[in-house]
Subunit: 342 residues, 2 copies
């Protein structure tokens, strides 16, 4: 009988459990669940994400061939220390944490040589947390970053690739530092930006009025503020430098946007920025990602339709603005004349 232990039966752990149990590839699979919050483990068992639950993480991993750490990053580090001595020889340990470099170092430091550690990060999630929101289809089509230890045996890597693939995800090998740099830009920065915007609006004296006016756009853009604070804290405190770097760059970009907005001589730049973003966002949401990006907006003949469209829109907008200004000048001029004639 194959035994898998899932430590942390929140949204991610329970979703993996559900999927593993549904997959018919492994016969007689037994999944042991542990969660610091006992009711979360109980709920995971109720929905069939795990078969058994265990209060003590060391007991949970005793006979496990594969251990999946699915708690927030720092909690995963604590779990490593808790299970280190109890892990069977040859066990494979993986995780689903949002940052990778510190976790790889922690595994190297804490786990015994007789087990292998393969870092992992399924790039999927929801704002809602906990096993109540578990979904076997959560990882469908998502990338699942895989970061093997330098000396990891092929069989250990294969086991983790198998989990990722059977969850419907596409595994993607990556260096831990590389992962953390990218994740800072497309995941950790958005999270903190969402928090910053919500705090800013919420702490304004006009919040009672603002909250009445705020429509879908505001609710959506601040939604990441609902992320479990323990998870956010663990992310921030294990990827400090990369996050700081991207906050700095965002502040710089915002300063530039501010200049475009305030300085009338930048009207053309402002429109270009808005039109180019709309166009490229459309291309991105249309599915052009990865290496396709480079050929993004050019057809076979090399004609760049996107730039052509944007150029047209820009010329049209600039004509309108010029016309508006000319008409305003003409009107002012007429008003002055008629005043003089009075």
């Amino acid at each position: 009988m194959a035994r898998v232990a899932i430590l942390g039966t929140g949204l991610i752990g329970s979703s993996i459990g559900l999927r593993l149990k549904q997959s018919s590839e492994i016969r007689d699979l037994e999944v042991i669940g542990h969660d610091r919050a006992y009711d979360a483990a109980q709920y995971a068992r109720k929905i069939g994400a795990v078969d058994l639950i265990e209060r003590d993480p060391a007991m949970a991993v005793r006979d496990a061939a594969l251990v999946i750490l699915a708690a927030p990053v720092l909690a995963n580090h604590r779990l490593m220390a808790d299970i280190a001595n109890a892990l069977p020889d040859g066990a494979i340990v993986t995780d689903t944490g949002s940052t990778k470099a510190e976790t790889m170092r922690e595994a190297e430091r804490v786990l015994p040589d007789r087990v292998s550690f393969i870092g992992g990060h399924p790039m999927a999630g929801k704002t809602e947390s906990g096993p109540k929101h578990a979904d076997a289809a959560l990882f469908e089509g998502a990338r699942w970053v895989v970061v093997p230890e330098t000396d990891a045996p092929e069989s250990a890597i294969e086991a983790v690739l198998h989990v990722a693939r059977s969850a419907g995800a596409e595994p993607m090998f990556m260096d831990a530092e590389e992962h953390d740099a990218y994740a800072a830009a497309i995941s950790h920065l958005p999270l903190l930006m969402s928090v910053a915007l919500f705090r800013l609006a919420r702490s304004s004296e006009a919040w009672p009025e603002m909250s009445l006016l705020a429509a879908g756009g505001f609710k959506e853009i601040t939604r990441l503020a609902a992320t479990d604070p323990s998870m956010s804290f663990d992310i921030a405190s294990t990827n400090r430098e990369q996050i700081a770097h991207w906050i700095d760059r965002l502040r710089e970009t915002l300063r530039e946007v501010r200049d475009y907005v305030t300085d009338k001589s930048h009207e053309e730049n402002l429109f270009k920025l808005l039109a180019q973003s709309e166009l490229e966002y459309g291309v991105y949401r249309g599915g052009k990602v990865g290496r396709e990006v480079e050929s993004g907006m050019q057809d076979v003949s090399g004609f760049d339709f996107g730039s052509f469209l944007m150029g047209e829109a820009l010329r049209e907008k600039m004509r309108e603005i010029t016309r508006d200004q000319e008409e305003r000048m003409k009107r002012l001029d007429q008003e002055q004349r008629s005043r003089r004639n009075v």
Copy 2:
């Protein structure tokens, strides 16, 4: 027969048209549609949002008792100039633009005294634009800001309140400057922040890799980058000062968040920020808006359950961090001893 002219049959104009036509209160209502893009007007007629279409805005308003300007802000200003002489005596003109102060000034300057202008802004929308996405239920439960001219007759105000209410919205009187200040914080800043984040990530050399990793959170938080650039431009160029003010404040908040992330001595502040945001966001999404906010998290006895919960979470997290640090120190100490003993 009551005649209403809708100038600009995009998402907002067509949705208002659909709703007006569905409302049984007005018998023999005839809605005339105009759009600079003739196919948008044709589509609006096809779905029954307007009865007739008219290429010339001046012709469209000839016999209209009520004129609704539903194009982007600067296009609404151009339309005012186009229709000024053709408006019938006593006509009521309103708009649905995203900024109000410049539009009120423009109406004062351009429209004849024999008509009334009541500014309006339904606080609802979608990223998708155009009559294809028209939805009679779009304004259901939303606030509809109403900004009357100083000398507007009661009957004109009542007519606009009627449109808002029959669309399912809740009218809210507001001063134009006040509206623009609030809208800058909860609508215009999120829009430009979304654009800034998308531009920043998209222009990175690592975008091919990042775009593969980006999951739901990134897609959602950058979704406002898909806003029609003409609409965004018109917003930015008619609310420059308020937007600049809020960009400055956001940059300041981000600098503070950055300090919390980089400086280990701020760990408590970082966790507090994250936990408080999560808690307050929950209260906000739970429906506490407007004046309810002040009593937000206190029950009748004055006991602040939110602060209590947060205090508990904070103490727990700080205990964990301290324990982690102590254990790390112990381990380091043991390692040093054993090295010395070698």
